[in-house]
Amino acid sequence: MMAVVILVFSLISLLLFFLSYCRSLVASSTKEALPQEVVDVTGITHPSSPDDFSRVMQLLRLCPDRPEERGKLRAITAYYRFLGLLRSTLAVIVPSLKAWTDNERAHCSYFAALLLGRRIAFSRDLFAQQMMH
């Protein structure tokens, strides 16, 4: 009985801590404005749509990779998928959760779009360096 109580409490707190941790990773980006070229390429504005994420990820894959952002990108992808899972399971029972997950997924899309902006700037710098040599 005690083990079941501990297990349930641990799983609930794990969920809360995990969500808050992922949000803390995303939170730093919400104040940052999107570069104009990203707005032009993707059509994303602030706030973005929850479903923009996969489109932005496709564009990200076309740009040269930046190793320092790999971890962030993996974490945010995991968080986005987890939110998708919540949306298609728990949100069916608790409708208010749907709006919340959509809002969070939109933050993920915005975060990915910011990374796209950084990658575009990085590619431009690389190109400029090649031209100079």
């Binding site: 079941v4 501990i6 409490f9 641990s10 707190s13 801590f17 808050s20 803390s24 730093s28």
Partner: protein, 225 residues
């Protein structure tokens, strides 16, 4: 492989803490990571000399684990002190922490008091398990205090949240082990894997987040405030 990764990550935490000039600011956390890395080396040495099934490895593993859990508990209390510093409540926090640690040790003793064989070994295992759960509850309380007191230090927030995820995973794993004793080998493997997550998250917090960065904690609450 997992052992190597874990050791490298623990060293990375120390390197990142020194690089970010927060080694002394979070001294108990740094000392915990140092102890953890040292314990990994010693465990490997004992494993290499005596073998996985030896008594020496068994005793060293569980005794060092209990000591590390106490060290992690103290590191958590140091985070409490950081959060409650401005309220001049450090004394109460330290007193409460000592009381809770003694109460947990007494509870662990009472649980295994009837046992005759290998009393001390059972005590350290029981103490570790109970401290993980107490640590989880305390981290939850600390997170509530962070939200309530509107603590804004990003690095501190990430350290606490990572600790919360870590304690939750361990407490859940111990609960599953008690519910299904047959899953002990899988559970032990998961222990190793979960052990990598805390140094990974702390290394990230020290490496990527500037020590004076701030954020609004209300935006992190899962339930909108």
């Amino acid at each position: 492989m997992v052992w190597c990764t874990c050791f490298v990550l623990e060293v990375a935490v120390l390197v990142c803490a020194v690089r970010a000039k927060v080694f002394f600011r979070y001294l108990p956390l740094s000392l915990y990571m140092t102890a953890s890395a040292a314990s990994d080396i010693l465990r490997f040495r004992i494993l290499y000399h005596y073998g996985y099934t030896s008594k020496e490895y068994f005793y060293f593993y569980y005794y060092s684990d209990a000591l590390l859990t106490v060290a992690l508990y103290l590191a958590l209390i140091s985070l409490f002190v950081h959060v409650f510093k401005e309220m001049d409540a450090e004394k109460y926090v330290i007193f409460g922490a000592c009381f809770l640690l003694s109460a947990t040790a007494l509870f662990s003793y009472l649980v295994i008091a009837q046992s005759q064989a290998r009393f001390l070994s059972q005590f350290v295992v029981e103490l570790s398990q109970n401290l993980y759960f107490v640590g989880l509850v305390l981290t939850y309380v600390l997170w509530g205090a962070i939200l309530k007191l509107r603590e804004t230090r990003s690095q501190l927030i990430q350290l606490v949240l990572a600790l919360g995820v870590y304690f939750s995973l361990f407490a859940a794993n111990y609960a599953v082990r008690n519910l299904y004793p047959g899953s002990i080998s899988l559970s032990a493997a998961l222990d190793q894997l979960f052990g990598c997550l805390l140094p990974l998250a702390w290394a990230y917090a020290f490496w990527r987040i500037p020590k004076d960065a701030r954020l609004a904690p209300a935006r992190l609450a899962v339930i909108p405030r």
